[in-house]
Every structure is written in C-alpha cells, then in structure tokens.
C-alpha cells in the first residue's frame, strides 16, 4: 500500500473500524511525524523543576526529533532542534546539564539558549586565509526554534508557530483537570522509568483512553478494588477529541452483582504487607484515579498517590518509547513521599498494573502486523464520540481517531 499514492483510504465505518495498516505502514508513520508531531500541536517536553537554574537544559524528543529545552540567563525557557546548522551533528549529548552555550563537538559552532548561532571558529580564517565567504551571516544559521508554553510547571513545545494558546488547545475541562494536579505547588521529581515497547505509539493512547479494559485485564486493580467497571466514573474529552480524561472513584472491594463478568478477580489474594496500598486523599474531589491523555505525546497519571507524566516517543511504526517522570510536591512530608514511592510498584516498566499494558500492547502489535488488510472494531458504548459517565465504552478512542483522521487527512 502507499498512503501518499492515494491507493489507500480509510475503510467505511467511520471511527468504529480502525485499519491495522495505521499501526504498521511506514508512509503513514512518516506523515504522522510531519503533520502530528511537527504540526500545530503542543508536545510535552519536561518540567520546569528539571531545569530550575539559569543555564539548565534538558534533551528530549518530539516524535523522532531530538530537541533541547534550555533556560536562559534571565530564566526564560527556550527550545530548539538538537541538530547543528552546519552539518547536522547532534549538538547536545547529555540528557541534562547546565551550559551557557551549546557547542557542537565537530567544529565547535556554538549556540545560545535560544539556539541562535553565536560562535563560528575561524569565521574570519587564520592568518588571512579561509574563513566564511562574503554574505555569510550567523543569523541565517540559527537552529530551528520551538515555540514554548508552560503551565503549572509543565513545559510544552511546538515545531509550528501556529499552535493555538495552550489553554485553548486543552479546552476547559481538560485544563481544569490539568490544573488540579499542577496547581502551582512546587513539583519534586522522584525519578524516571524508561521502556521501549514493541508496538505502535497510538496503541498506548488507545490503552489509556480505554476504561473498558481496566476491569478485565488488570487483575491486580480489580482484586484490590482500585479500578472497577462498577465504580462511578466519567470519560471526558475536549471538543476536538484529541485529549481525554478517565476519572474514577475507588469503590468497595470483593464480589458484587457486577463482578461476575470480571472473571479475572482473585478474591483470595490479600497482601502480606498492606503498606503497598495505603492511599490517602490528597485532592479536593473524590476522584481516586484520573488518567489524562494530551495530544500528541503525554499521559498525566494520578493513580491514588502516585503521580507521573508519561511521555510517548515514537521510534518507527512498530516501536515507541515510554519515558516516565514520577513526581510529588515540594511540600510533601517524608511519609507522603514514601507512599508515592511504594505505590510506584503499580506503575512503571515493572509495574504490577502497567506491566499488563506493555505486554498487551506487544501482543496487539504482533497480531495486527500479520493482517495488514484487516480492521479492529471499536463499538463498545456505541458509535458516538461524546463524553460518558461510565467505563463501559470506547468513546474516547473513537474521538481520538476522529481527530486523527482530520489531522492526517485520512
């Protein structure tokens, strides 16, 4: 197939049928990198707390592209492509650091925190010989800059200058839940977890936007009543459908009228050390789990007291990386910090719960890759793409693909 050759088109059935080709086709992937990750979107790139001081910087990826996020001497945050304007060398090799200038190793062209070219060794040659020709102007060779938006200590960046205001981009509902976690308190980074998952990056979004699977796949969650289909829940989207919220409240444990269909439940499993699960209420509302997905690369996780940002970095159609940043608040006491660290046992590359997801995503990729011409069906909860007040629905996935089709022109 050739998506550019117009020899391929999305099957009928709107967003209730998703063609497997979008998980495996290189042409579609290339277009995603162009239109989604380099388009007018806001990609998560890090936390202000990770670069608190002037000169601090971090290196991350937007789509497949390496970028530098740096704080200048005045404390302002900037971003630029991590690729020398001279001959393309990756300028910055460290994941993070502090630097006044960014010096390319090859010929030591140096750039400031805005990615502006400041130094070109031997620009005037040596002993009247060589150097740059007439008409060479440093300002013509700055690094491609990123637009930056921050809110609540979270940094977003865009390759496009035409992205809407971050607040408008998120929409009221998603913005309010974003502010619920990033409420202005100082954030404290607790650590990182990184994993390379052999599946298409969109399978990660499907997974988090899918409350239907949680009570079925996640035996641990169900067994300990942390998340169950019979608990109060809402699914919320922004108007575009790009972003989504999964909100639920812990309910009773043990069997109920509805647990019959949760065949996986282990009623006899009780913890030998209960400290693994001793959640405390820390947010004004009653929600015990809020999973927020922000187009095109972020998951904000509040699962009881474990807070994390999961950044999605696609590698190719069949692989993506998930970079987790665990955090708490500057005013956490030791007990709360310890609680967050303990609960992290549930969520990471070795998480008692999230391991189910990374494993099932691999199985999904293995399955779809064998049948390039088939489609998946997303009918749970009907055919709509609206908000719902229950967990038995794929509405958020349908909404995601409705937006995806618009952006991709598919």
């Amino acid at each position: 197939m050739d998506v550019d050759g117009a020899t391929w088109s999305w099957p009928d059935g709107g967003v209730t049928e998703v063609p497997y080709a979008i998980y495996t086709d290189p042409g579609i992937f290339a277009r995603e990198m162009e239109r989604i990750f380099s388009g007018p979107s806001w990609a998560y790139v890090g936390l202000e707390a990770e670069i608190p001081q002037p000169g601090d910087y971090l290196v991350t990826r937007i789509g497949v592209r390496s970028v530098v996020i740096a704080r200048d001497e005045e404390g302002a945050i900037h971003g630029f492509a991590n690729r020398c304007a001279h001959r393309g060398v990756k300028v910055c090799r460290q994941r993070h650091g502090n630097a006044r200038f960014f010096v390319c190793p090859y010929h030591q062209w140096s750039y400031d925190a805005r990615g502006r070219l400041r130094g070109v060794p031997f620009i005037n040659g040596v002993r009247q010989q060589g150097g740059m020709p007439e008409g060479f102007a440093r300002e013509d060779h700055n690094l491609p800059p990123l637009d930056i938006a921050t809110r609540g200590g979270v940094i977003f960046a865009s390759f496009s200058a035409t992205a809407p205001r971050l607040e408008d981009y998120l929409g009221d509902t998603n913005l309010s839940y974003f502010d619920r976690v990033f409420d202005g308190r100082q954030l404290k980074v607790l650590g990182y977890s990184r994993q390379r998952i052999p599946g298409n990056w969109k399978l990660m979004f499907e997974n988090i936007k899918d409350p239907y699977h949680a009570s079925l796949l996640h035996v641990f969650l169900v067994t300990f009543g942390l998340f169950r289909a019979d608990q109060p829940a809402q699914v919320r989207m922004d108007p575009s459908g790009a972003h989504g919220l999964l909100i639920s409240r812990r309910g009773e444990q043990g069997a109920t009228a509805d647990t019959g269909e949760m065949s996986s439940m282990k009623e006899d499993f009780s913890l030998a050390d209960a400290r693994l699960l001793d959640p405390v209420k820390e947010f004004p509302d009653d929600a015990t789990v809020v999973m927020q997905t922000i187009w095109p690369n972020l998951i904000v996780q509040q699962q009881s007291n474990t807070l994390a940002l999961r950044q999605i970095q696609p590698l190719d159609p069949g692989r993506f990386e998930l970079h987790w940043t665990f955090f708490g608040y500057g005013d956490d006491d030791d007990a709360m910090t310890l609680r967050r660290l303990r609960q992290a046992n549930l969520m990471s590359s070795a998480g008692l719960v999230s391991a189910d997801d990374s494993e099932v995503i691999k199985l999904a990729q293995d399955g779809v890759a064998q049948y390039p011409d088939d489609v998946g069906v997303m009918l749970m909860g009907g055919r709509g793409t609206d908000d719902e007040d229950h967990m038995v629905t794929e509405t958020a996935i349908r909404a995601f693909y409705a937006h995806y089709r618009r952006v991709m022109g598919l």
């Binding site: 990182y192 994993q195 035996v219 050390d273 992290a344 391991a355």
Partner: protein
C-alpha cells in the same frame, strides 16, 4: 579487605541459589533468601547516580517480596519467557554483625517464545547480608542498580 576462601565460597553459594530460584524456581522460595525486615530495590542507574529515590520495584519487607511473587504468578498478564542470570565478580567486606556488604555484577538474558535470546538487564548488586539465628546468610538489603536504563518492554520477574 579481602574475603577468605571459605567466606567467598559461602557467598558464591548464596548467589548461586539466588540465581537458581529466579531462573528455575520455585519462585515462591525466593523471598526466603531475605530477612523479614529487608529492603529490595530495582533502581535505574540513572536515578541511583542522580540521587533520585524512585525504584521500579520497591519491597520493604519479605512480605512485600511475597506479594510481588504472588502477583507475578497470579495477576500480571505476561508472555511466557525464560530468564538466565550470570552473577560474577563478587567482592565484599565483613560487617560487624558477622554478615557482609557485597557488590557483584549481574546480567539477565531473556528468551521469549520463538525469539532469539536478548539481554534483559545488566548492572550491579549492592547488597547487605546478615546472619539468621541459624547462621544462614540472608539479604538485609539488596539494591539492583541496572545500567540498562531503557527497559526492553517489561520487567515482570525480580532480577
């Protein structure tokens, strides 16, 4: 300070048994190698070197180890796989209570069904062993600091 041959031999036995239980089971016997009050951390070298506390497995007692083992066996959905440890270059020092503080290098090779073998994890054990009333050596602390910060998909079993 170097270890006497008998001391080294005793430690080699402990690590051989440790590898044995994780690679060939029974996994349920593995927590018994730890003291009831113990600390087991599976921590990326990146966090360890930067002084960040987050571990991807954190067990603060033998009970938590047992809970992890039970979850691996009963609740975590995962593909079948074989694991194989190499624990080498054991070095350590005697501690006041007749135990040892030990550093060792490890690697774990993973074989998924129909896949070729691959390196799942590689790094270093930072351990403290203590003696049980019966004189047996048990892990009081075990920090698995893994160099392979980018995890190939999922770590299901303890390392």
């Amino acid at each position: 300070m170097t270890l006497a041959a008998e001391e080294r031999a005793e430690l080699e036995e402990v690590y051989a048994r440790y590898a044995d239980l994780l690679d060939d089971g029974p996994l349920a016997d593995w927590p018994a190698l730890f003291h009831e009050e113990c600390l087991y951390l599976l921590i990326p070298r990146e966090n360890h070197d930067r002084g960040l506390p987050l571990a991807i497995m954190r067990c603060e007692s033998r009970g938590m180890l047992e809970d992890r083992v039970r979850a691996v066996q009963e609740t975590i959905m995962h593909e079948p796989r074989y694991l194989r440890h190499h624990i080498t270059n054991v070095r350590g020092a005697r501690t006041d209570d007749g135990g040892y503080s030990v550093i060792a290098n490890y690697s774990v090779i993973e074989v998924l069904q129909d896949e070729l073998p691959r390196i799942l994890s590689v790094g270093r054990y930072l351990d403290v062993l203590t003696r049980s009333p019966t004189g047996a050596l048990m892990f009081r602390e075990k920090r698995v600091v893994f160099d392979s910060v980018m995890v190939p998909n999922t770590i299901v079993y303890p390392l």
